[in-house]
């Protein structure tokens, strides 16, 4: 391979020397034709020195970089936490703080305020008794159920296991609670029309 390289080099050199002698020979003529640029300069001019066009890789990469930067900016903007929905019950409307609305309340006599304090204490005692009675009643109910399950276990294991299974059909259980007056049988209630003005917030 080195032989081939040296041969090609020699050839090039010989060509060059030939061209240079040709040029020098030419110099003897007084006119130098513009079409005959020196071969040396031809080989090293700027357009020939430049790389071949590699636009296909750089542009997609540059566009991708630009897109990623935009996406990052969008994500930063989106990371803002959503606005909290205001709880209307916690904000006193300005109408209520109006001074003209104050009620002229009569002063309470000493007996009246004493009576109220005593009634509050009486009430707390009554409620405590009621709560204790409820808790005891519930404990009795649980005790009765425990006893029943014990007896059932003594009887038969299979029935005991069947009794322990949760009832899937029970829930959701709906029952109308007690009202003030009993429902009138076959009562045709009048249609109540109302405008719903509740404000609906979206996050």
């Amino acid at each position: 391979m080195t032989l081939a390289l040296s041969r090609s080099l020699c050839k090039v050199l010989s060509r060059q020397t030939a061209s240079s002698s040709f040029v020098l020979g030419e110099h003897h003529h007084a006119v130098q034709s513009p079409w005959f640029a020196p071969v040396m300069t031809l080989k090293t001019s700027a357009p020939l020195r430049a790389e071949p066009k590699k636009r296909k890789k750089v542009d997609p990469r540059r566009e991708q970089m630009a897109r990623e930067r935009l996406k990052k900016k969008l994500k930063k903007l989106e990371r803002v936490p959503p606005e909290l929905i205001p709880i209307e019950d916690f904000m006193t409307p300005n109408k209520c703080l109006d001074e003209t609305r104050e009620r002229s309340s009569p002063k309470l006599s000493f007996e009246e305020s004493e009576g109220r304090a005593l009634l509050l204490k009486e009430w707390s005692r009554y409620k405590q008794k009621q709560h204790k009675a409820e808790v005891q009643a519930l404990e009795l109910v649980l005790e009765a159920q425990r006893e029943a399950l014990e007896e059932l276990k003594l009887e038969s294991e299979e029935l005991y296991q069947a009794a322990l299974k949760p009832d899937t059909l029970l829930f959701p259980f709906v029952h109308e609670g007690p009202v003030y007056t009993p429902p009138i049988p076959k009562y045709d209630a009048p249609d109540g029309k109302y405008n719903d003005v509740t404000k609906v917030y979206t996050q």
Binding site: T100, E134, A137, D167, F173, P178, Y180
Partner: protein
Amino acid sequence: MRLSRTAVGNAGIRQFSTASVCRATLQAKSVTERASSPWTLMAAVCLQRLPVISADCNPIEQQFKDMILQMELEKSVLSDHELQLLEDAERMRRKQADDYDSDEEEGRDGQEIMLAQDLEDAWEQKLKSFQPAPRARADVDKDLTSAQRCLAETLVLLAEQQVGKEKLWLLPQTQWQEGETLRQTAERALDSLPAGYKATFLGNAPCGVYKYKLPKAIRTENTVGTKVFFFKAILSDSAPPKAPKAPLLWLTKSELQRYLKPAYMMKVDRFVLGV
């Protein structure tokens, strides 16, 4: 779900093959258990009709209620309606005063048409024209067979059934049969009643048990006594019963004592809530 085919021809495709084997052994065990146990099993249903109206207040509750309403009224501010009432009263007073100049009024069109007081009177009239159903009716309350009595309390259904030689008042019960759970027995007990009541059973577990031994004369090796398991159910609809002459009673907790035997009552009293 596991499908398995046995080599034997008549078995065919059996699903839950291991589960069926387990059940077979359990059943064998339970049969032997049941055979050895001297107690007959029965299931009873404690059908409750929950209160329809709110109960009346105690004296202390009434006092407290009044006091709280008064306190809340004192701490409140005037509403729009009350402000309108005050304004109208003021305007009327000014009109009836001697030096009244209608041009000085900040005229609002239609101010004379509807005073707030008139609105209030109209509403009052409308309320009076509506007749709600009475809260308590003495004649219905006395009828023990009606499910509409004592609307403010929970009622429990009692049936008169033959037990041994005598007829007793007790929670409707039937004997347990092979191959059903106790809850199904209780449901059967409910369905066997002449009045077709629809109820929701609360869970699979019994809420109470009552066991009694047979008198020594009848006792054999196999039957020493009976265990009755109670199941709670809530009446879904208070429709009138189809057989009005059926021996059924709806009783409050305090009235149960008059109809049930003392030992039975002691057990039932525990799980029937008086609330």
